[in-house]
């Protein structure tokens, strides 16, 4: 079976439990088990070859540009771990079938479990460190889901998050380390990396890479000072603890250290970091374990201690130590998984895991007692069990390394004995109690089968190590060391060695310690010590608070500051860019300053400053804006831009009218809110902004263009190619007609947005508020004065005529669809002002929505028309025609396009104003039914009395 398939099987299988759970819990467990079994079989089929020393590979390209490929390989180390993962996995699946309660969603559990299993198998089979990283992070994720499986338990949630945070952090650090490693070697393939020990250790990046990778390993394997997450992950259901937190996931760190051992070990840095960490963890974990009353917590810290044990061995950097590490990995997996399951059984049966509430269970649960005791004795390192052998070999190695190391290792072993004995003594021995929360008895076979099998292994390996695991240890060690195996022997009796004495000291000391446990426990409980979880929680909480504080401080909705920062950024960056480049003074001849131009400039300067200075009187500031608009239009005329002048002046008036319509409902004055210093600051920002822009344009204006502008082409081609003499208009409707197309769409969208917004306003709280709205200043009588009405009657047709004129001449002289549209819109506005919106609207046949839509469609369809001539979109055509008695005239498709522009402009402006008018109507305004309020011709004596019509009776605008 391909390695890729072995890794993929659990992932694919993860879909099964969810489906099979409908067929029952047994079916679900069977399906899950089958998947694992299948993968295990696939793996074992490779075993003979691996034992022969072959390396099995499977390679698929995934992201070659990154060097991340789906490459797998299987050697001894991989075989051991994959075997453990799948083998113990199988047992856990069996165990969990009986462990989980009816109310627990089993399908979900098995799915998560298989995900996790796949990730673990992936880690140990990866031949690409980036791929390995992926699986690595996947284990963090899937364990997050498994730890948090019991969602209602706060410990589960917090434990899951803590585990994710800590191991996630390590995993992320490891990314850095792996990337460095890959950079040094030039490949992310493990098989390549493993052959580049010299290059790696000679690189200046060796140490950072080492530290980063070890961070990943240490966090995953709960090494000091990252050991604290593991006990809290015990909130997970016991099968999870047994699987993840004893047998597999926590060993991923060990696996990686072992995997990298050939290239990373052997340096001082490796030794000091890894061995020291391992040693401290081993002792500390054992000490804490002794004082834990929760069975699972005890086992958890024991696991921490044993992981430290193995880490230390790997840290020694000697081949023999590596062999011992491998051996203990196997041993620990067997007895610790059995112990976890035992703890689970006790919890399941006695409904408590608290040692203080247990004791005397050997009478009630004899099978469990045997299993648990044998496993615990192995954990304590009592012969002839497998734990004894690896512990002996470890002590031997420690003794060779140095006196201090030996002493501390013995101390660790001593505490290990103590808590192991405590496990046996305080749970099973002693008198039977009558206050168990439930009536404990041995569970059914299904539940104890798995731990029993494991304990059988514990005993068998202890008795016949070479038969049982000799080959496995040799093959695995060979893979770890990556070279010749050292001399070692797996046996119970090594003769009288320092290790023997250390062992004896540990066992005796452990006994003594257990005897004095009561007093020690009180001392321990009384002693102040840092509670890792509290510190972690406080730290995360602090970070969260700090993050919230700083985020909310910076993003507090203070738009004024945002805009200030924006301005300053633009000015600073622009200035910096300027100073970094070569700047030659402009040599372009400047135009003379005429007195009228000076006057115009004075007007603009004064009016714009006055707008800013007097802005708190809102109406007045609009008047001042008008002055600016007027003068700029005048300036455009003076500087040869008649089209711009026309557009600017007409847009300006429509804008002002919009602003006036809005201002009606807004406060008429702005309160003075900013402090003088704030205003000064804003003035400074504004000043430098103005200086920057002014300086920039001055620099541009005073230099000649270094190239021929593309507009030379437009001037050349306007008449022959575009058929018009007003080059600006030809650019708008032809050369750059596509811009104009976008522009009218902007206008159309603006109107739609305004309309939609009005609808939303009228149906929301604003609509209710408007109903109760009263004008904030007294209104004069005479809404529609007679004089204006009459004048409009004459002027509107004239203005429409002007609009037609401006439209028709646009292609050849200043004008065009846009300006024409505005002129017509202004004419309509005049009518609306004169006789009121309702009266005018009632005489208006075309809907503005329709007008906008037709405008856009007309422009688009004109453009598309060119396709039928097999030309690109917006290709124009024109011709000259003559219908007597008129002169020859030109027709261009561009004019059709301009019709679209015209319609959109009129529709958009009017729809916007209509929307505002609807707001006014909601504010209690009456619709006029007569063109003028006072009509002396209407009644014989006295003016007509206009009748108010409620808003809802007048036609709504759509």
């Amino acid at each position: 079976m391909s390695l890729a398939l072995i890794a993929a099987l659990p992932f694919l299988g993860a879909l099964l439990p969810g489906l099979m759970i409908r067929a029952g819990r047994n079916a679900c467990a069977m399906a899950t088990g089958s998947v694992t079994a299948l993968a295990l079989i696939g793996l074992l089929l490779h075993a003979p070859a691996v034992v022969r020393g072959e390396v099995i590979q499977a390679r698929f390209d995934w992201i070659p540009v990154l060097g991340l490929n789906a490459n797998f390989f299987l050697d001894g180390l991989g075989l051991l771990f994959a075997g453990l993962i799948l083998g113990i996995g199988l047992l856990i699946i069996l165990y969990a079938r009986f462990y989980l309660a009816k109310s627990d969603p089993m399908g979900q559990f098995y799915a998560y479990l298989l995900l996790f299993q796949g990730a673990m198998v992936g880690i140990v089979l990866s031949d690409n460190v980036l791929l390995l990283l992926i699986f690595w992070e996947l284990t963090s994720l899937s364990s997050f889901l498994l730890i948090g499986y019991w969602k209602h338990l706060p410990e589960g949630r917090q434990g899951a998050r803590m585990a994710l945070a800590v191991t996630g952090m390590g995993g992320l650090a490891m990314i850095g380390g792996m990337l460095i490693l890959g950079g040094i070697v030039g490949s992310y393939d493990l098989t390549v990396i493993l052959q580049n020990k010299d290059a790696i250790q000679a690189s200046p990046y060796y140490l950072p890479a080492l530290i980063l990778i070890l961070l990943g390993c240490f966090t995953k394997s709960a090494q000091f000072p990252f050991h604290f997450w593991l006990p809290h992950a015990m909130a997970a259901p016991t099968p999870v603890s047994a699987y993840l937190h004893s047998a597999t996931m926590v060993k991923a760190g060990l696996f990686l250290m072992a995997r990298m051992w050939p290239v990373l070990s052997g340096t001082d840095a490796w030794f000091y970091i890894v061995a020291t960490t391992g040693l401290i963890t081993m002792v500390l974990g054992a000490v804490i374990a002794l004082f834990k009353d929760d069975l699972k917590a005890l086992l958890a810290f024991s696991t921490v201690s044993h992981l430290g044990f193995i880490t230390m061995l790997l840290g020694f950097g000697t081949p023999v130590a590596a062999v011992v590490a491998v051996f203990h990995i196997i041993n620990h997996a067997t007895f610790k998984a059995a112990l976890f399951m035992t703890a689970g059984i006790i919890d399941h049966e006695a409904h408590t895991r608290d040692i203080k509430r247990l004791g005397g269970l050997r009478h009630l649960m004899p099978v469990t007692f045997v299993i648990g005791s044998l496993a615990a004795l192995s954990m304590a390192g009592i012969p002839p069990l497998n734990g004894f052998m690896s512990k002996e070999m470890m002590l031997e190695e420690a003794a060779h390394t140095g006196i201090a190391v030996g002493v501390f290792a013995t101390l660790g072993a001593l505490f290990s004995v103590a808590y192991s004995f405590r496990f046996i003594a305080h749970v099973f021995l002693g008198p039977k109690r009558d206050d168990y929360p439930a009536k404990p008895h041995d569970p059914g076979f299904g539940m104890w089968a798995a731990p029993a099998l494991l304990v059988a292994l514990v005993v068998l390996i202890g008795l016949m190590p070479n038969t049982m695991v000799g080959t496995l240890v040799a093959t695995t060690s060979g893979a770890v060391i990556g070279g010749e195996l050292p001399y070692y022997s797996l046996k119970l009796w090594h003769g009288v060695t320092p290790a023997l004495f250390m062992s004896i000291a540990a066992v005796v000391g452990g006994f003594v310690l257990l005897k004095g446990h009561g007093g020690l426990q009180r001392a321990w409980n009384g002693a102040p010590r840092p509670e890792a979880k509290a510190i972690f929680d406080a730290f995360v909480d602090l970070c969260t608070r700090a993050a919230r504080w700083v985020t909310d401080l910076a993003h507090d909705g203070a738009m004024t500051r945002y805009l200030g920062i924006f301005t300053v950024t633009a000015v600073v960056a622009g200035t910096a860019a300027f100073w970094g480049g070569t700047h030659g003074t402009g040599t372009r001849a400047t135009l003379p300053m005429t007195p009228v131009a000076v006057v115009g400039t004075i007007l603009i300067v004064v009016a714009s400053i006055a707008t800013a200075a007097l802005h708190r009187n809102r109406f007045l500031s609009l008047v001042l804006i008008s002055v600016n608009g007027l003068m700029i239009s005048l300036g455009f005329v003076y500087l040869s831009a008649p089209d711009l002048a026309l557009t600017q002046i007409s847009v300006e008036v429509v804008t002002i009218m919009l602003l006036l319509l809005a201002l009606n409902f807004l406060p008429k004055t702005t309160p003075r809110e900013s402090s003088p210093s704030r205003r000064l600051r804003d003035m400074v920002v504004a000043g430098i902004g103005g200086l920057g822009v002014g300086g920039l344009i001055y620099a541009i204006l005073t230099r000649d263009l270094g190239f021929t502008s593309i507009s030379e082409f437009h001037l050349d081609q306007s008449k022959p190619g575009g058929g018009g003499t007003n080059v600006v208009n030809v650019i708008l409707v032809d050369f750059r007609g596509y811009d104009t197309f976008g522009e009218i769409i902007v206008l159309g969208i603006a109107a739609l947005v305004i309309y939609a917004l009005t609808e939303a306003l009228l149906s929301g709280p604003a609509g209710r508020r408007l109903r109760g709205w009263t004008p904030d200043f007294p209104r004069a009588g005479d809404r529609h004065p007679l004089m204006l009405v009459v004048a409009t009657r004459v002027m509107m047709p004239m203005a429409v005529m002007v609009g037609v004129y401006i439209f028709l001449r646009g292609h050849n002289e200043p004008g065009g669809g846009f300006i024409a549209g505005l002129v017509v819109a202004i004419a309509l506005l005049m009518q609306y002002m004169a006789s009121g919106f309702a009266w005018a609207q009632a005489r208006q046949k075309v809907q503005y929505h329709t007008m906008i839509a037709w405008g856009v469609l007309a422009a688009a369809l004109t453009g598309i028309g060119a396709w039928f001539n097999s030309r690109p979109f917006l290709t124009s055509d024109f011709g000259y025609f003559r219908i007597p008695p008129m002169q020859e005239f030109e027709l261009a498709t561009a004019m059709l396009f301009d019709v679209g522009v015209f319609l959109t402009v009129v529709g958009a402006v009017m729809l916007a104003l209509a929307s505002l008018s609807r707001i006014a109507r909601r504010a209690g305004e009456e619709a006029a039914t007569e063109p003028m309020d006072i009509d002396p011709s209407a009644a014989a004596d006295g003016g007509s009395m206009p009748q108010a019509v409620p808003a809802n009776r007048t036609e709504e605008v759509r």
């Binding site: 006057v599 007027l630 209104r779 004069a780 204006l788 008018s917």
Partner: protein
């Protein structure tokens, strides 16, 4: 002769614009300022026509026509606002 006259007339209307500005800046009420703005528009129209004469082109004519139309509409709008608040009720 025409050039001199044009020059003087330019000066007159330029000065007129400055006077309008003065009024705009110093007037007490908003109404006076709207009046000043309206006068400004009228003076601008004169300047535009004058510019057309001095440049010998009719290409700026439409601008002055539009100025007249727009100046009227905006002044009326301002006044309607002062009178009624809503300009197109």
């Amino acid at each position: 002769m025409i050039d001199v006259a044009i020059y003087i007339t330019f000066a007159c209307f330029g000065l007129a614009l400055l006077l309008n500005l003065w009024q705009l800046a110093t007037a007490k009420g908003v109404g006076d300022r709207v009046l000043a703005l309206d006068t400004m528009v009228i003076n601008s129209i004169a300047l535009l026509i004058l510019y057309g004469i001095s440049a010998g082109t009719a290409v700026y004519f439409e601008a002055s026509m539009l100025f007249a139309m727009v100046g009227f509409v905006s002044t009326v709008a301002y006044c309607k606002f002062m009178l009624r608040g809503d300009i197109i009720e």
